[in-house]
Every structure is written in structure tokens, then in C-alpha cells.
């Protein structure tokens, strides 16, 4: 047991003398949490709109002003033809074209029906979808409006109307930051923990000091513990810094209990560090370790549910997600911080992460050979 004390002393001294690691632990979380949410914004707004109005009637103009008043769209141009408007789409100056046919108002009143054309640059599917549906919604609202006016003018049988009220819980302002930040923190902790652990052992391999350790009677469990513990502590520090930033900068206060949050993080760190350890036993150079880590991290992060929902993935991808520790972390972060979930609620994720921790670390210990 004393051996661990000596191992830890050495590790901490080395960590604190290594400026780049310190920079990573402190500066990286701060920078990422500040800049990423600013950039990682999937909110759809400022869609560039070009209007081709062949009618110039009061109806068409009212519709257009209603659209621009919504705040979702930025009116870039009034074009006189669809071809002109299309050119704007080609040069990325417009995302959407609304074409109102000639005789819009007149035909609407006479024939009770008129089509308008919405052409969307669909390269970015999300944007196109949301943009198209916002526009359709505004048009629908406008439609209801003028219909209501019309109803008042004529003695008309009222039509059954279903009024829909929608409420948004946990995030009534639909603030995108609230959604992204906990997820980003999850990824941060993962990256710092994973990378640092993997690189650390491989660095000793490269320098030859690991051989010196292998010749000593240190049991390999102790050696590995000696590596795990410092980075586990560091992971906690990064997480805490992250929570503080979440609170100070974004005003996010965890709805759920901090104990639940930290409890999960403690287990999660063990799993991720175990993974880093495992990678290091399979790598001979820092370059290799870093690349392997990066490869897996990338897959974990992309499929972790931060950017796109796991539910939308095809079956095979969902199965992979079940083996992705990061996805559990992101889920739990959001559940506990935003919705106030408790121990019982996160139990399924908790025991799965425990399993990960046990399997990964055991594998790493078995794989680490003092004698080859």
C-alpha cells in the first residue's frame, strides 16, 4: 500500500510540472464551454429569404410582412423572377424562395384555393426542414387569420376548431445552450480523462522508464492504480470547473442532486480512464495512442446523442450506442441537470457504466504485462 503513496507522489509532481497538461485541464474546459455553445447552435433563425411576388396585392404584402415579422427569416431580396431568386440560392445568398403567383388575392377569393411555391436549399436537411415548416406554419396562421375575418363578414356556419396549446417543460425559453452545455461538459471530461491517461503511460514506454518499473517488484495492479487515481482526481476537477462555468456563465443550476451527479461521474471517470489505460497497453508510441484514442473518441462523440438523437438512428447504430459510455454520460447529464432525475431514474445507466468500468479496467490490467 505504501507503494501507491510513492507512485501517486511521483505522478502528481510530474503532472504539475508539465505545463501543457495543466493548460489542458484548466484552459481547455473554460474555452470550450465558452466558445462551443456560441458556435454549436442548431437553433434555426436568420434564414435568408428571397420573395418573388407576382401579385403585389394587399394579401400578398400582408403575408410577406407577417413572415418578416416572425424573426425567423431575413428578407434578402425582392426578385422579379424565380430564375433571379434561384441565382441567389446558387451563391448561398438565399436559403429559401417564396413565390406568390399572379392573381393570388383575386383567385383566392374567387376559387377558394391558391398555391404558393416554397423552394428550399435542402443541402442542410435540418435547416431546410425547420425553415420549410416555420414558413408553412406562418402561412397557416395567416390563412386562419384571413379566414376568421372572412367569417365575420358572412353569415357562415362556424367550423369546429381544435385549439392547441403547447408548453415546453424544463426549458421554456427553448434555450439551446441549456441543451448543449451539459452535453459538451460530458464530452470535455471524457476527452481530458481519456487522452491524458492513454498518453501518460505510452510516454513512459517511449522514455523507457516503464521498463525500470517493470523490473521492480511493484505489482501491476498498484502500478495501474497509481496511474488511475491522479487522472481520476483531475477529471473531477475538470468537471467541477465545468459545472461552475455552467452556473456562472449560463445560469444553469442542476435541478437534481449534486450527489447523484457526482456519483455518476465518479463511476464514469473510472470507465473512461480504464479505456484510456486499455488503449495505452495497445500502443507503442504517443502518436499511435493519440490516434487510436481520437478514432474512438470521435465515434463515441458523434454517436453519443449530442448532435443528433440516438432514437433516430438505425437499429445497428442504436446497438453500437449501447456500448458507447459517452452516450450514457450525456443522457445522465441532461437528465439530472435539466430534469432533476434522481438515483432511481438513472439506475439503468448507472449499472451499465459500472459494468464498463469493471470490464475495461480488468482488461487493461490483464493486458499489461510486466513480462513479455
Amino acid at each position: 500500500m505504501r507503494t501507491i503513496k510513492f507512485l501517486l507522489r511521483k505522478e502528481f509532481k510530474q503532472i504539475f510540472r508539465n505545463k501543457s497538461i495543466l493548460a489542458m485541464i484548466i484552459i481547455m474546459p473554460i474555452m470550450q464551454l465558452l466558445i462551443l455553445p456560441l458556435a454549436a447552435n442548431y437553433e434555426v433563425k436568420n434564414i435568408n429569404l428571397s420573395v418573388v411576388d407576382h401579385d403585389h396585392s394587399s394579401y400578398s404584402q400582408k403575408l410577406i410582412s407577417k413572415i418578416t415579422a416572425s424573426g425567423y427569416f431575413k428578407l434578402q431580396a425582392y426578385n422579379s423572377s424565380f430564375e433571379d431568386a434561384f441565382h441567389l440560392i446558387e451563391t448561398d445568398k438565399a436559403d429559401l424562395i417564396l413565390e406568390i403567383p399572379q392573381g393570388f388575392e383575386r383567385n383566392l377569393i374567387r376559387k377558394n384555393e391558391q398555391k404558393v411555391l416554397i423552394a428550399v436549399n435542402a443541402i442542410n436537411g435540418t435547416k431546410a426542414n425547420l425553415g420549410g415548416s416555420y414558413l408553412s406554419k406562418i402561412i397557416r396562421n395567416y390563412n386562419d387569420e384571413i379566414r376568421l375575418q372572412w367569417q365575420r363578414l358572412s353569415s357562415y356556419n362556424p367550423v369546429p376548431l381544435i385549439e392547441i396549446t403547447s408548453s415546453n417543460w424544463f426549458n421554456s425559453f427553448l434555450n439551446y445552450d441549456i441543451f448543449m452545455v451539459p452535453g459538451i461538459l460530458a464530452i470535455l471530461v471524457t476527452m481530458v480523462g481519456g487522452f491524458l491517461t492513454a498518453l501518460n503511460i505510452v510516454k513512459e514506454k517511449e522514455a523507457g522508464t516503464i521498463e525500470q518499473i517493470n523490473v521492480t517488484p511493484i505489482k501491476k495492479q498498484y502500478f495501474i492504480l497509481g496511474k488511475l487515481i491522479p487522472f481520476w482526481i483531475l477529471g473531477n476537477i475538470v468537471f467541477t470547473i465545468g459545472l461552475l462555468i455552467e452556473w456562472l456563465v449560463y445560469g444553469i443550476i442542476p435541478l437534481g442532486s449534486l450527489l447523484v451527479l457526482y456519483g455518476f461521474i465518479w463511476l464514469y471517470l473510472l470507465a473512461i480512464l480504464g479505456f484510456g489505460l486499455l488503449v495505452s497497453t495497445y500502443s507503442n508510441t504517443q502518436q499511435q495512442a493519440m490516434l487510436i484514442m481520437f478514432f474512438f473518441m470521435m465515434i463515441f462523440i458523434l454517436m453519443g446523442g449530442l448532435f443528433t438523437p440516438i432514437n433516430s438512428m438505425p437499429e445497428w447504430a442504436k446497438i453500437i450506442s449501447r456500448f458507447n459510455p459517452v452516450s450514457y454520460m450525456i443522457e445522465v447529464m441532461r437528465m439530472v441537470i435539466l430534469k432533476g432525475s434522481g438515483w432511481k431514474d438513472i439506475f439503468p445507466q448507472l449499472w451499465k457504466i459500472l459494468l464498463f468500468a469493471v470490464v475495461l479496467n480488468s482488461w487493461a490490467i490483464l493486458n499489461y504485462r510486466k513480462t513479455t
Binding site: N112, N171, D345
Partner: protein, 368 residues
């Protein structure tokens, strides 16, 4: 020239012998394309919805069966206890709930007005909005079916046409992004680390003392990665065309030419980083933090640039991958020619030249 080729040959051996790294360098774009192509989508389907049905009448049943039939939703449960909503939200079982008041149909038929309440878990705002919109659409469909017996005046019918990507596939958006990412990774990260490693082990000094111009030595280190990257570009394009069914609408030659330009930009960047850093760890940190992260953020393929605060938008202009992303999108998806992208090309050239000159300057300072 012969000496240069000798250096290049040596560098190729280094790269080719590291099987693990090679595997990942080739495997990564393939993995990314597969993930982006088949796994990542914002398309909503099978989202679990909780129904609180206090009416249990013909109207609520009709609407519920419409929802059940919809590919977007899967009915998790139909209960009468509203507390279930919060519990299920907290467990993450459902994301949205629909509440029918008692006497729903009666009110609809006799009072001509009834209310429905949609409650969404807005911790994911976009999903919440989308789900709410989908449910509203189903409800409004029901309403218009009801109203078919009445003649509704003034129907404005929006006809939506999706340009370039009618099936709303994610691929046209991200394939260019994956290309930018992979090229950046290989060319900046690997080059920087490979050069710095020689510095660390001291073999760089030996090379520098040799009668060959140091510039040749450094450039020879970059050459294998140039070739690797071009192979990766080809791989990505092949995958995109044959597996994702996203064709290259424009000129393939132009695409390769522009890609080569971007590769040179990234290699120069990698070389610059290697001149300025002394250990592999730092080189990696700088490359990842300074290059990769901004590329993912500011190239525009994961997050729309126009959503960002103005300061960041301006900043994104110095990120080479932003321009490359636009170029590839334009050639591949829109099928335009050079005349449309000369501005972006110029931007890339300018960035490359800038990097080139500061690299040379830094290098000379070190030597002096």
C-alpha cells in the same frame, strides 16, 4: 532532386511501417462516412409519446390511432394520471405528451371549440419543436377531415420543393465536411507530430546538419501525407457516390485540384506548428485544440455559421476548412464551375501563402 526523393522514400517507410496508425488513417474517413451517412440524422421517428386521455371518446380515439399509425410516434402508454408525465420525462422514457380533456368530442361538436394540450420535454429544444409541430399537423389533419363537410374558403396551399437534395439526405451536407475534417487531421496533426518527434529524439539535428537544405527535409516529411490524403479523398468520394448515392455533380478534376490546394494549406499549417513546438504532447494539443476544434466548429458543416455571434463569424474567415467546405459543396452538390468559387479559392491561396511565409520566417529565426 535525387536526394529529395531519397528523403521522401525514407519518410514513406516510416509511415507505411506503422500499421496501427495507417489502419486508423484509412479507417477513419470510412468510419466517419458510414456514421454520418447512416447513423446520424435529425429525422424523427419512433419517438415515444405519452397520451393522457380523459375523454376516451370517438374523437380522441381517432386522433390517437392517427398518431399510432404515424411513423414519427410510438405510443408509450395511454393513462389518465397526469403525474405520469413528469415521472416519464425524468426517466427519459418519453419526450412529449398529449392531453385530451374530458368531453373532448362533445365540446368539439356542440361548442365548436375544444382544447388539446401538448407538453414537450424541451431539454432538447429542436426535438421538442419538431415533435410539437408533427402532433399539431396530425391534429389539424383530423380537423380538416372533420371539416370536409363544410366548404372552407381561402385555402392557401404551400407547395414545398426541396432543391439539390429532395430526399433531405444528410450526406450532401456532411460529406464535404468529413473531407475537410479528415484532411485537416492527417495533414496538420500527423505532419506536425512526425516532425516534432524527430526534434524530440534528436534525429532532426542530424538531418539539419546534413548538406541538404533543411526545407527539403521538412517538405519530404509532408509528402507521404499528401499522397495519403489524396487517397482518402478518393475513398470518400467513392463511398459517397456508391454507398451513400450522392453523386458528384461537378467536375471531379476540379474537386481534386481544389483538394490538393487545401491539402497543401494543411501541410503548411502542420509544418508551422512543428516549427513552433518542441514536444509531441504540445504539438498534439495545439493541433487538436487550435486546428481540429475550430475546423469542426467554424467550417459550417456541423453548425450553421450564420447562427453565431458576429465576432465568431468574422473569425471563421481565417479557418481554411470553411472555404474548402464551401468549395466542395459547390462542386459536388450544386455542380458549379470554377467561376463560382474563384473567391473562395483565392482565400485558400492567401491563407496558404501567409502560412508559408511565417513558417519560413520562424524557421530562419530558429536557425539564426
Amino acid at each position: 532532386m535525387k536526394q529529395f526523393l531519397a528523403f521522401v522514400k525514407k519518410e514513406f517507410y516510416h509511415v507505411l511501417r506503422d500499421r496501427r496508425t495507417l489502419l486508423i488513417l484509412f479507417g477513419m474517413p470510412i468510419a466517419q462516412i458510414l456514421i454520418f451517412g447512416f447513423a446520424l440524422t435529425n429525422e424523427v421517428k419512433n419517438e415515444k409519446i405519452l397520451i393522457i386521455d380523459n375523454a376516451k371518446d370517438i374523437a380522441s380515439q381517432r386522433i390517437i390511432s392517427e398518431i399510432a399509425a404515424s411513423k414519427y410516434f410510438q405510443i408509450e402508454n395511454s393513462v389518465t394520471d397526469p403525474n405520469q408525465i413528469v415521472q416519464d420525462f425524468k426517466k427519459g422514457i418519453i419526450r412529449v405528451a398529449l392531453i385530451f380533456p374530458a368531453n373532448f368530442n362533445k365540446d368539439l361538436m356542440h361548442l365548436h371549440k375544444a382544447q388539446l394540450q401538448i407538453i414537450a420535454d424541451a431539454s432538447d429544444p429542436n426535438l421538442a419543436t419538431t415533435l410539437t409541430n408533427y402532433i399539431s399537423a396530425i391534429i389539424q389533419d383530423y380537423q380538416s377531415n372533420l371539416n370536409q363537410t363544410y366548404d372552407i374558403p381561402l385555402r392557401i396551399i404551400p407547395e414545398v420543393r426541396m432543391l439539390y437534395n429532395p430526399e433531405l439526405k444528410g450526406a450532401p451536407n456532411f460529406v464535404p465536411g468529413v473531407m475537410a475534417l479528415v484532411l485537416m487531421l492527417i495533414c496538420v496533426l500527423m505532419t506536425a507530430i512526425s516532425i516534432v518527434k524527430e526534434k524530440e529524439t534528436g534525429t532532426m539535428e542530424i538531418l539539419l546538419v546534413s548538406p541538404f537544405r533543411p526545407a527539403l527535409v521538412i517538405v519530404s516529411k509532408a509528402v507521404p501525407y499528401l499522397l495519403l490524403s489524396l487517397i482518402n479523398v478518393a475513398t470518400i468520394l467513392l463511398l459517397s457516390v456508391f454507398v451513400l448515392k450522392v453523386p458528384v455533380r461537378g467536375s471531379v478534376l476540379l474537386l481534386f485540384a481544389e483538394s490538393t490546394l487545401f491539402i497543401v494549406t494543411c501541410l503548411t499549417l502542420g509544418i508551422f506548428i512543428s516549427i513552433k513546438t518542441n514536444t509531441q504532447q504540445v504539438a498534439m494539443l495545439v493541433s487538436l485544440m487550435g486546428m481540429l476544434l475550430p475546423t469542426v466548429l467554424f467550417s459550417g458543416f456541423m453548425f450553421p455559421i450564420e447562427n453565431m455571434p458576429v465576432a465568431l463569424q468574422v473569425f471563421s474567415n481565417i479557418i481554411p476548412s470553411k472555404w474548402y467546405y464551401i468549395i466542395v459543396k459547390s462542386i459536388m452538390i450544386k455542380g458549379v464551375g470554377f467561376s463560382m468559387i474563384w473567391k473562395e479559392t483565392l482565400a485558400l491561396v492567401a491563407i496558404t501563402l501567409f502560412l508559408f511565409f511565417i513558417s519560413i520566417k520562424s524557421f530562419k529565426i530558429r536557425m539564426a
